[in-house]
Amino acid sequence: MLINLPYTNVDRKIFQIELFGQENLIDSYIRHLGSEFHDVVENTLWFLNVIIQDSVELRDTFISSPIFLEVMKILRRDLNSLNIIEFTIWLLSTLMKDTTTTPPEKKVLECLEASAGYLHVLETSILTQCMWTIYNISSHDEKLPKIYEDIMNSGAVVKLLKINYTRFQICLSPCLRILGNLCAGRFEIVDVKLL
C-alpha cells in the first residue's frame, strides 16, 4: 500500500513526515532491512526508495540516519537475491539523483564504490541501476570537483567499456551519459584513460 504514495496528488508531505519522522520507526525499517526474509527486505527497500524520491530534505535525513548504514550493510552480505541487489542499488541511485544539494562526499564515495563494485554482475536490471547511480554521482561535479577522478579510480569506466552492449542494449544510454559527463568535464583524464 505505502509504495503507492508517490502516485497520489494528495499532499504527500503529511504522509512522508509520519512515515519518516519518528525515530522508533527508523528502527523498524532497520529491523526489516536486516530480515532473513527476502520479501521483507525487498519491499522495505522499495518503500524507502519511493518515500524519499520527491523530497530532498528526506533524502538528506535518510543519508545521515542509521538506515543508510544498514542499506550499505546489505551489499556486504552474501547475497543470493538479484532483486535485493537491484533494489539496493536503485535506492543508492535515488539518493544521488537530486543535485539541488550534494550529500557528504564520504557517502557519495560509498555509493560510488558499491555501484562500481556491482558492474561485474551481468544482469540487465542491476547493470542499469549501477550505471544510473554512477551517472547521478557524476552530476554532482560542481560541488565535488574531484568526482570524475574518483569515478575513474573506482574502476567503473574500464568495466563499462568491457560490457557487450549488443547483449545489454538498455544499458547503453546510462553508459553513454556517464562517459559524456566525463568527456565534457575533464578532457585530460579522458585523453589518458579512455582513448
Partner: protein
C-alpha cells in the same frame, strides 16, 4: 474506513491482518481511474489517520506477510 481503523487498533492479530488485507485490496490496480482511486484512498488515509495506525503496526508486528502487505 472507520471500521478498518478500529480493526487496526484492536490488538487482535486476526483483525489487524484482515484490515491490512482489506486495505491492500483497495490498491489493486486493475481499474480505469487508478489516479482518482489512489487519491481518494490517500484522502481517506489522511482523514482517518490510517498511516499513523499502519506505522504502529509496522513497529510492533513480526508477521512477515503483514509487513510486506503494508509496504506493497
Amino acid at each position: 474506513m472507520e471500521l478498518i481503523n478500529d480493526m487496526l487498533i484492536s490488538n487482535n492479530e486476526s483483525y489487524i491482518k484482515l484490515a491490512v488485507y482489506l486495505l491492500r485490496t483497495y490498491f489493486v490496480k486493475h481499474e480505469v481511474n487508478v489516479q482518482e482511486k489512489i487519491d481518494t484512498l490517500f484522502n481517506l488515509f489522511n482523514q482517518f489517520n490510517i498511516i499513523k495506525t499502519l506505522c504502529d503496526v509496522l513497529l510492533t508486528s513480526s508477521d512477515n506477510s503483514l509487513i510486506v502487505y503494508i509496504y506493497l
